[in-house]
Symmetry: C2
Subunit: 573 residues, 2 copies
C-alpha cells in the first residue's frame, strides 16, 4: 500500500502527540499551535543542539540573554517596526473575508509578488481581475496592515506596547549592559531563544506560518574593519542562489573571495549554519541560501539570505535567515534614546590626525564680554569645526560676526589651535550579522524530512540525536514477571541517563508501530527467554532487525548503537 504524503504528517502529528491546533476544543485559532509531548522533546533537542553548536561549543564569545515579549512602543518605533513591519491586506467588500493581497495575487496570477510595494499591488489589482476565493467578488480595497500585536502596559492605557516580532530588539536595547558585563570586547555574540508574535493576516500553513513561535537567534557584534579568521569552516561547501537567480555552489572561502557577501562574517555563519543543519539530519546539498533582493529585504538589512529546505506539502520553506544588519539598530536606538551605544575599538595601527581645539581664557573673556561670553565660545566652536589652519590657525586675533555686533577676539582671550594627535582607538557602532532560526519550522521540516513508509507502515526516521526517546522498553506480553523485569530495565536505563519510554499496553505489534511512528530508534523487548537469563531483544526502527543482547551489557550495547556501531561485529549480539 502506498500512502499519500499530503496531510499524513499533520494526522500523525495530532495522533502521536507532536503538534495540533491550539484551543482545538473551542474550534482552534488560526496560526496558533500546541507542541505535544513528543514534539516538545524533539523541539528541545533541536534547541539544545543549536545552543551547543552556536554558543556552548563556540570558541567565539557568544552569550545568551533573555528579554520580555512585551515591548514598549518607543522601542519598536526606533527599530522601524511600527512603520515598516506590515503586510498588504485586501478585504472582500461583499463577504468581508480578509486575504494577504500579495499572496492572493501570486496564487491567482501565477507571478512573483514578494516585496511588491503597496502602490504596485494597487495597480496590479486595478489592472487584473483578482477575486474573493469564497464569493468570487472582485477585490480592490488594498491596505497596509501592521503585524505587531498591540497591547497596553499598566492600568488603563498607561503605555502603548506590542509583542516583539523578533528577539533582536531586546538584545539591542540591552547591548550596553551585556557588552559591559562581557568586559567590553568585540566581537561579541548575544543570543536569545524565545517566543515572538506576528499577527499574520490569514495563516494557513501549519507550523510554517504561526502567529506565535520560538525563534533562536543571535546578534553578532563586530568591528567591520576586522577581518575574521575563517577557521576550519573555510572549506565548507555552500549553495547560494543569488538574487539575480545565479546558483553558486562553492567553498565558503571562495564565495567570500569573490565578493558575493557584504562581509566575511556572513560567510562564516552561513558555513556554520550548514554544519548545524547537518546535525539535525539534512545534507549540505539539501540546504540552499536564497539571497533576497533589495525590495524583499527587511528595512534594516544590507544583505539577507533565507535558509531554504524543501518540504513535501509546502515546497521550499525558509527555516532560517542570515542578515547583515550593519549598525542600523544600534545607531537608531542611540538616536531615539539619546544614549550613546557606540563602543571604543582599538585601531590596528595608531593614526595621526589633525585635531582642532578651542582654547579659552574664561576669566579674561568673561571680564571683557560678560553674558556674551557664552555666545562667543559657541561661535568659536562652530568656526573651529569648519576652519582651515591656513585661515585661522593660531592667529593673533579673530573677528566674529555676532547678532549683537562684530567682536574682535585676541589670542590672549581665546584662540583656535591646530594640533597633530595620535589616536589608538576610535568610537564605532559595531556592525551586526544575525543568524536567526525558527525552532517550530525546523521541527516541522525535520518531521517532514524523516517520515517514510515501509510496507504499509509509517516510520519517522529521526536522527537519533533528536528522537523524542533514545530507546523504548516493552514486556512482550502483560504478564507479571515480564512486566516486573521490563520495569526494572526501564528504571535502570533511566538512571543511567537515557531518555526511555515504557509501554505495556496492547499487542507487541501495535507497540512497535507506535515507537516507529514517534521515531524511537530502538526498542527492547523482555520475553520468556529473558526470564530464563538468555538476554533481551533490541529491535531497530528503520531496518526492523532484531538482536538478542545480554542484559548485563545493555547500556553498553545502546551506547554502541548510538555511536552507529555494529552490535554483531562488537560481539554484543
Amino acid at each position: 500500500m502506498k500512502l499519500a504524503f499530503n496531510d499524513e504528517l499533520e494526522e500523525l502529528a495530532r495522533r502521536r502527540g507532536f503538534f495540533w491546533p491550539s484551543y482545538e476544543i473551542y474550534g482552534g485559532t488560526a496560526g496558533l499551535y500546541d507542541i505535544g509531548p513528543n514534539g516538545i522533546k524533539v523541539k528541545q533537542k533541536i534547541e539544545n543542539l543549536w545552543r551547543d553548536h552556536f554558543i556552548t561549543s563556540s570558541l567565539l564569545n557568544i552569550v545568551e540573554i533573555e528579554t520580555p515579549m512585551v515591548t514598549p512602543q518607543r522601542v519598536l518605533e526606533a527599530s522601524g517596526h511600527v512603520e515598516s513591519f506590515t503586510d498588504p491586506l485586501v478585504i472582500c467588500p461583499k463577504c468581508h473575508r480578509v486575504y494577504r493581497a500579495d499572496q492572493l495575487a501570486e496564487a491567482q496570477l501565477k507571478i512573483k509578488t514578494e516585496g511588491m510595494a503597496l502602490d504596485e499591488l494597487k495597480k496590479l489589482y486595478s489592472e487584473k481581475e483578482i477575486v474573493c476565493e469564497a464569493c468570487g467578488t472582485r477585490l480592490l480595497d488594498i491596505q497596509s496592515f501592521n503585524l505587531l500585536f498591540h497591547t497596553y502596559i499598566g492600568p488603563f492605557t498607561a503605555e502603548s506596547g506590542f509583542l516583539r516580532p523578533e528577539t533582536a530588539q531586546g538584545i539591542f536595547t540591552a547591548f550596553k549592559r551585556t557588552f559591559e558585563a562581557e568586559r567590553k570586547k568585540l566581537p561579541l555574540g548575544v543570543a536569545q531563544v524565545g517566543r515572538v508574535a506576528r499577527n499574520e493576516i490569514s495563516p494557513r500553513q501549519s507550523l510554517i506560518r504561526m502567529r506565535e513561535f520560538t525563534i533562536m537567534e543571535f546578534e553578532f557584534f563586530f568591528d567591520p574593519d576586522q577581518v575574521p579568521d575563517l577557521d576550519s569552516l573555510q572549506n565548507k561547501i555552500i549553495k547560494i542562489r543569488l538574487s539575480d537567480n545565479t546558483l553558486v555552489v562553492e567553498k565558503m572561502k571562495d564565495i567570500v573571495a569573490r565578493g558575493l557577501l557584504k562581509h566575511p562574517w556572513m560567510g562564516y555563519f552561513m558555513a556554520s549554519a550548514v554544519d548545524f543543519m547537518e546535525k539535525i539530519g539534512f545534507t549540505a546539498d539539501e540546504v540552499t541560501f536564497q539571497e533576497k533582493s533589495e525590495k524583499e529585504r527587511a528595512h534594516y538589512s544590507a544583505q539577507t539570505f533565507d535558509v531554504i529546505v524543501s518540504t513535501k506539502r509546502w515546497g521550499d520553506v525558509e527555516v532560517a535567515g542570515i542578515a547583515y544588519r550593519t549598525n542600523y539598530d544600534l545607531r537608531r536606538h542611540s538616536e531615539f534614546s539619546g544614549q550613546d551605544l557606540s563602543v571604543s575599538v582599538q585601531l590596528a595601527v595608531p593614526v595621526t590626525k589633525k585635531v582642532t581645539h578651542v582654547w579659552v581664557n574664561r576669566a579674561a573673556l568673561g571680564k571683557k564680554f560678560g553674558k556674551y561670553s557664552v555666545d562667543i565660545v559657541n561661535a568659536l566652536n562652530a568656526l573651529a569645526e569648519s576652519a582651515k589652519e591656513e585661515e585661522l590657525g593660531n592667529k593673533e586675533k579673530i573677528i566674529l560676526n555676532l547678532p549683537f555686533g562684530k567682536v574682535e577676539i585676541t589670542s590672549d582671550l581665546a584662540r583656535i589651535e591646530f594640533k597633530e594627535e595620535t589616536v589608538s582607538s576610535e568610537k564605532i557602532y559595531p556592525h551586526v550579522v544575525e543568524p536567526s532560526f525558527g525552532a517550530d519550522r525546523l521541527l516541522y521540516a525535520v518531521l517532514d524530512h524523516s517520515l517514510r513508509n515501509k510496507e504499509d507502515r509509517r516510520i519517522l526516521s529521526l536522527p537519533k540525536a533528536i528522537a523524542p526517546y533514545d530507546i523504548a522498553v516493552f514486556p512482550l506480553v502483560e504478564e507479571e514477571k515480564l512486566v516486573h523485569k521490563a520495569r526494572a530495565i526501564f528504571e535502570m536505563l533511566k538512571k543511567t541517563g537515557f531518555d526511555v519510554l515504557y509501554d505495556e499496553d496492547g499487542t507487541i505489534g501495535r507497540r512497535y508501530a507506535r515507537v516507529d511512528e514517534i521515531g524511537v530508534p530502538w526498542a527492547i523487548t523482555v520475553d520468556e527467554e529473558s526470564i530464563a537469563g538468555r538476554g533481551v531483544t533490541i529491535r531497530d526502527r528503520d531496518s526492523w532487525t532484531q538482536w538478542r543482547v545480554n542484559e548485563a551489557r545493555l547500556s553498553e550495547a545502546i551506547e554502541a548503537l548510538r555511536k552507529g556501531l555494529d552490535l554483531k561485529l562488537l560481539g554484543f549480539a
Copy 2:
C-alpha cells in the same frame, strides 16, 4: 568593612550581568526585566534541575507540552480569569497616581488585607484616612482592575484575546489530545515551562513582581478515589503554616494521616518540592508552606499552599504554589466548549447496580401509533428515569397520559425493564494538583541566598549545580606563553563538557574578584611554574584555598571537586 545588604544584590546583578530593568536606555518599563548572560545560565540550570527532578527522573508519567501565550478570550472566560483575575486599584483624584488599594492600605494601616473583597476595601477607605504617597490627597476611588494583558488576534478586531496569566489553561485545553497521545492512563502529569504575563498595577519589587515572567508548572491529573503510594517521600519532614496560623513540622505521611491536606497527592508533591528546593541550595527548614485562607485562594482552588522562602530585602517571598484545583477547570472547559473532557477510569472493585432500560418493539409501536410513537418513547424514557421497580417493573401494560390523550402500552409493544448490571469503569473529570514554580523568583531567591561578604569582598556562593560556570581559566599575566597554555586548557575543558569561563584582562586579583562575584566555584591559573611543568593552581571561591594540581589530571580533579571530595586526600594536590 561591613557591606549593607540593601540594594547590593541589585547593583551586583546589573554590573555582573545577572539582571537589569528592560529597555533601560529608554528609562525602563516597570515590571519588566532582562536576564543577563550570567543570570540566564543560572536560570537555565534551575529550569533544567526542575525538569530533571519533576519530569525526567520521575517514575510517574509526567510529560511536557508547549502552548501559546496568546489566548482567545473564550478560553479565559471558561477558566474564570476574565471575571476573577483582578486586583483592587485606587487612583489619586489630584495627581492621578495609581496604587494597588489593598497593598497601600496594608502599608499605611499596618493590617493584613490580602484577599479582602472590593466592598470591604471600599468600606476601609471610607472609614480610615488613606492618602496618596506622592501628594497626600485622601484616596477613595477604588476599582477592580483586570490583570490580563489584552490584544486582538488577526486583522483589526477580529478576535479578542489576552496573554495567558498561567500556562495551565493551555494544558487544560490540550488535555484531550495529550491524554490520548499518552495512551489514556491516569495519573498523568502535563508540564509546561513558559512565559506568562500579568499586567500588575504598580510593580516595584525587582524580579519578585514582574509583568512578564517564566513559570514552571504541571497539572497532575488523577482519579481522586485512587490513593497514591507515598513512596520514599513519606518520611520527608515538611513545615506547614496552616491558614489559622498553626505551625506544623512533621513527616509528610503524618501530615497526610492527620487529614490536613485535601488529597494525599498534595503531600506527595509538597515533599517533592522540598527535595527540589534542597537541590538549589535551600535547607528543608528554610522552606515554609503557607496555607492560603479561603478568601485568599484563587477562584479554582480547594486548597493552596504558597512555598515561602525568606529574602534580605523583600522578606518572605512566595517562590512556588501547590494548589488543589479539583476538577474545576476540566468541568468548566467541558461546559463552555461543549466537548466532553471526562475520561473513563477502571473501578477498583466492579460495582453492581440497578439499571433501568426501555425496551421497544419499534415496528409494532409504529404500526399502531404512527407519528405519535416518538412521543410515546420519550414519555417512557422520562418515566423510566424516576420509576420504581415495584410500580412499573415488567408490567403487562403501562398507561401514559399524553397531550393527545391517554394511551395504553402493552408489554409486547414496549416495557420498562429493571436489571442488575455490573460495571467495571466509570466516567470522571480527573482531579488536579498543580505545583507551580516561578523561575525568576527562584533565580532572585538563590542569588539573595548565596550572596555573602568575606573581608571587603562579595562572594556569590551559588551551589555548584547552578553556578553560571563550572570553572574559570586565567593566565596569571597577559604574556604570550601563559595565554597560549591557558587557552589550550580552556579549550580542552570545554571539549570535555565543562562550562568554562576564560579571562585574561586586568590583574589576577580583579579577575578572582569577578569570578567570586559571579559565583564560579573554582578558578584555574596558569603561571610560570605551569610552563615549567609543575602544574596549575586551582582556587576555591568560598575559602580562597589554592591547590597546585598536575595538568594531566585536571579534568579528574575538577570532577572530584564537583563531587565535594578533598583534593589533598585524593593525592591530586
